[in-house]
Symmetry: C2
Subunit: 299 residues, 2 copies
């Protein structure tokens, strides 16, 4: 072990055998059944791993168990990302050095860039989200492409949403491609999974939220619904549909209002991530103007 | 030739030899040098071809030459998209039937879904755009990924922008992946290419536009710049930087104001397409509220 990595301990040699049982066990987490059976998933690449380590360190500092179970790095990646590994070490998370071959065998990504973590699944119950009195929630109904789902989670995080819900008809949020597409946001805000849309909308409405469905065929224009209205000043949950076919009539009927993002030019539509970003940012803008930020809780 | 396709004429047999010179000449348009030498590019797949045919038919109806030079379809695709081929035929555009092998050999895409057109390059001079007194323009400076560039063109179209400019440091807008990512928008609004950023910003400013640069490190918040200001009521050009490293200091200095899309949550950033969509939609919203739509020109 090169001294510069700071990884080596005499009793922990680097893992170098891509066919070792431990390596195979990690690699199996690329599949949904292994993830569900073990309640674990892969976090790949410097940015997602950095955000996962930060979430872990914060949890540990709060006296809660952090999400991470294992952290693997090549010697080269350890040299390139010393702050990530230092923070992991401070949080009591041991880093195991692996060869590039082993990392490639573990990872779902073609180029995991030398860093990979195994995390406990991070989804939380819907009741826990509602207990926090959310003001902005994104609901993904029947979103099937993991990259799209991850990008919407990233947009929801950026817009300051309080939570994201993936219904039982949506992709597995712990899918490696979805995790990568969130760019770390999966560790920034609570994510609820596996609940049927009808139960989600009923629970959000019971918690005082207005449920808006985004659909190109919506009868109301986004800004008309939000601007200067009681809707825009109150808590809002957005329901987004499948990337190809949108929301079914039955799904639209579960919303209070079906809203379209206006198309001012000649484009047929926006893609899911763009439409969701516009809806969430517009809502955040109106809410923040209408209602000053809640004061921080007294210490 | 099956009768149902309506493609066959006795003197025009389907092209079935993937190694024919004509097929190779089309296939070479996947490369930038051939596109520049010949002033032609590939349009692949049902949606882009449909929008290209519509633009062609409109031009012909106006007495102008349309952009399309050739249209190729497999018998199966011809059966599946009769309206596209009928509109092409009405505009005097002959469709040539090809075998699936020939279409695959012509196309850059793995699955062109049976439809492919060859178009004249569609970029226009900057002076032509400025002559139309644009109110909303998107400028892509150093955007290198064709998919990102295409997605921003689609967003600009949806937001009702009057034009998109790709500077000389940006990807070739006629790259097949870029063309596909525009989802047809390349044929909806004027696109300018190949001009250095400094010349673009000088010309836009001379035409009375405020030049805003989007950057995560911008000193002003998007809504603060646009809402209730002279900027938001007037013509605005947005400069968007590279997907990985943003805008250089020199590029930012060319703008009147450097603007950041607020990050309300804990995400590090939005991706280029999401940030551009928020900027363009926010501007369109404010402009349309402050200034009623220009009346249509009298006939």
């Amino acid at each position: 072990v090169p001294e510069s990595t700071g990884l080596g301990r005499p009793d922990r040699q680097p893992l170098t055998n891509p066919r070792a049982e431990r390596v195979k066990a990690v690699s199996r987490l690329s599949g949904r059944s292994a993830r569900e059976r073990e309640g674990r998933f892969l976090v790949e690449g410097p940015q997602p791993v950095r955000e996962a380590v930060a979430a872990h360190a914060e949890a540990v500092a709060d006296g809660r168990p952090g999400p991470l179970l294992d952290l693997y790095a090549t010697a080269e990646a350890a040299d390139r990302h010393p702050a990530v590994l230092a923070r992991a070490a401070q949080a009591g998370l041991a880093v195991r050095e692996v060869s590039a071959d082993v990392l490639a065998a573990m990872a779902d990504t073609v180029t995991p860039q030398g860093l990979l973590a195994v995390s406990r699944t991070v989804d939380v119950p819907l009741a826990e989200v509602l207990a926090g009195r959310p003001r902005l929630v994104a609901v993904l109904a029947s979103v099937r492409d993991p990259g799209n789902a991850g990008t919407v989670i990233r947009a929801a995080d950026a817009a300051g949403a309080d939570a994201v819900v993936l219904t039982d008809a949506s992709v597995d949020v712990h899918n490696p491609k979805c995790v990568r597409s969130t760019a770390g946001s999966l560790f920034h805000l609570p994510v609820v999974t596996g609940v049927p849309l009808a139960r989600v909308t009923a629970a959000l409405r019971a918690a005082g939220m207005t449920v808006l469905a985004a659909d190109g065929a919506g009868e109301h224009d986004l800004d008309d619904v939000l601007e200067g209205s009681a809707v825009g000043a109150g808590p809002v949950a957005w329901v987004f549909g499948n990337e190809a076919w949108g929301l079914s009539e039955a799904d639209r009927a579960l919303a209070d209002t079906v809203v379209r993002v206006p198309i001012h030019g000649r484009a047929e539509s926006l893609n899911l991530a763009m439409a969701a970003t516009v809806c969430l940012y517009s809502t955040a803008r109106v809410q923040r103007r209408e209602t000053p930020a809640r004061p921080a809780a007294p210490i």
